[in-house]
């Protein structure tokens, strides 16, 4: 079994991940091999079972909304690939 090329490209586009021709070919085989191994879960009867999102039974955790010191803009922007003044600089979203 092999994932179709269009399926691989569709997934990559959903997460905006660029792939080389070689990677498209490789992933279409590897992903389907891995997915085949997941078929085993079909054997398990999960009727009426709740899904588990994490392992400790914490509900919503609230705190008071109190102001506290934040970071200096220089610290926040120190790793920015591109900046202009105190802003992250990005390319035009709408042409």
């Amino acid at each position: 079994m092999k994932l179709r090329r269009e399926e691989v490209l569709h997934l990559a586009r959903l997460v905006r991940l660029g792939l080389s021709e070689e990677e498209i070919e490789k992933f279409s085989v590897q992903l389907s091999n891995i997915l085949e191994n997941f078929e085993i879960l079909k054997q398990v009867d999960t009727t009426n079972l709740p899904p588990m999102t994490q392992s400790i039974a914490l509900q919503n955790v609230f705190r008071e909304d109190e102001p506290s010191p934040s970071y200096h803009p220089e610290e926040v922007l120190a790793n920015a690939p591109q900046r202009e003044g105190n802003y992250f600089k990005i390319r035009a979203v709408l042409e």
Binding site: I34, V44, P51, M52, Q54, L58, A78, R91
Partner: protein, 487 residues
Amino acid sequence: MDELYRLTIHQACQLLRQGSLSSAELTSACFKRIEQVDNKIHACVTICPDIALEQAREADRLIRSGENLDPLTGIPALIKDNISTKGIKTTCSSKMLQNFVPPYDATVIRHLKARNVVILGKTNMDEFAMGSSTENSAFFPTRNPWDLSRVPGGSSGGSAAAIAADEAVYALGSDTGGSIRQPAGFCNVVGLKPTYGRVSRFGLVAFASSLDQIGPITKNVTDCALVLNAIAGSDPNDSTTAPYPTPDYTRALIPEIKNLRLGVPREYFVEGMQQEVRTALEIAIRKLEELGAKVDTDVSLPHTRYALAVYYIIAPSEASANLARYDGVKYGYSYQETDNMWEAMEKTKQNGFGPEVKRRIMLGTYALSAGYYDAYYLKAQKVRTLIKNEFDQVFQKYDALITPTSPTVPFKLGERIDDPLQMYLSDVCTLPVNIAGLPAISIPAGFAHSLPVGMQIIGKPFGEETILRIAFTYEQATEWHKRKPEI
């Protein structure tokens, strides 16, 4: 003493307090050791001698004045490179974060700094903690100090190999599916994954948020308890931390396991398990029996066989969401040779991530995408409930479970790297523990083919004291942890 780098935390702490050793001397000894052996092991990605020696001198000043005396004060540590360290590069062994310098410390680092520990540097790992051999580092693979042609395990392979080779007194790792325990087992050191919620993950670069935990990698069980004391506790910055008080874990270090009920689930002695590993484990289990534990080998956790599939759906799904932030805008590698926003984003990820990270992002995206969500992600979450319920039931009868840490001894570099499924199988004994959020420790339990074998002790939620006690009792009665690789 010539071999200062061999000291454990509790030994070094005693010498520091007696005044017969300074933190600066100990720190220098560790750096000398790193210089001697790390060109063979490749455990470190960053070392910071200037900062470390400054921290050591400050610790020495405090120790002389008798202030702030914590057992960790002045003791040098290495930190896995996915744990944020303010002012020190935190790369996740990825091209994506190759030059990333965090503006803040992870909560665990804050806890260590409050105790005036010395941070020697950062250790190598599988990129973004995805892998079981440290071969997925974008920089270089780490080698097992016991056999340089073999892997140290992963993803915390740098931390485990460094401690086995005495490059630091202890290290921190992170564990999403076995990433502390499996390398600890492969390198003959102690590694603990605490209960989900026991240790804050604030500042840990997120991989799979419902599974990730930070924990210690140490030379023995006493040191493990000392480090856990420092890093455990609730944190306003991590709302998944448990609001329970933190006990003094060193109080659990009692060499006494009489009448403790230990279960040995048969599903962990899997097909494909090496015979010599099985034998080593059987001998270790007999030892626990001799020490007074009530061992029951007729225990079954039948849903264990679904854990691998559950894990490799849930972890990549969470990863695909967590890693969406690496878009080249706020930090990290950024592709610049285009004016097109989408192309920039796609090329940033294409060039910044390695093959395993891309594979998991794709896998997770598949499991979460329209038409497949119910069949994969939701199904996996429901089976996760079953696995957790099964552990809960078994823990009504037993105080802890004993299993191998890994079904095999460390494998050769290159042996599994082209076969993702084979690689995933090396975590088969450790990942059910993350799925259920339980604490588990791996301790040295023998050798097979002259390579280390780890024993995993799994506890009830927040049952760290029980598993530390069992581990301590076994360690006191055996010599495995004292064996050192020849490097």
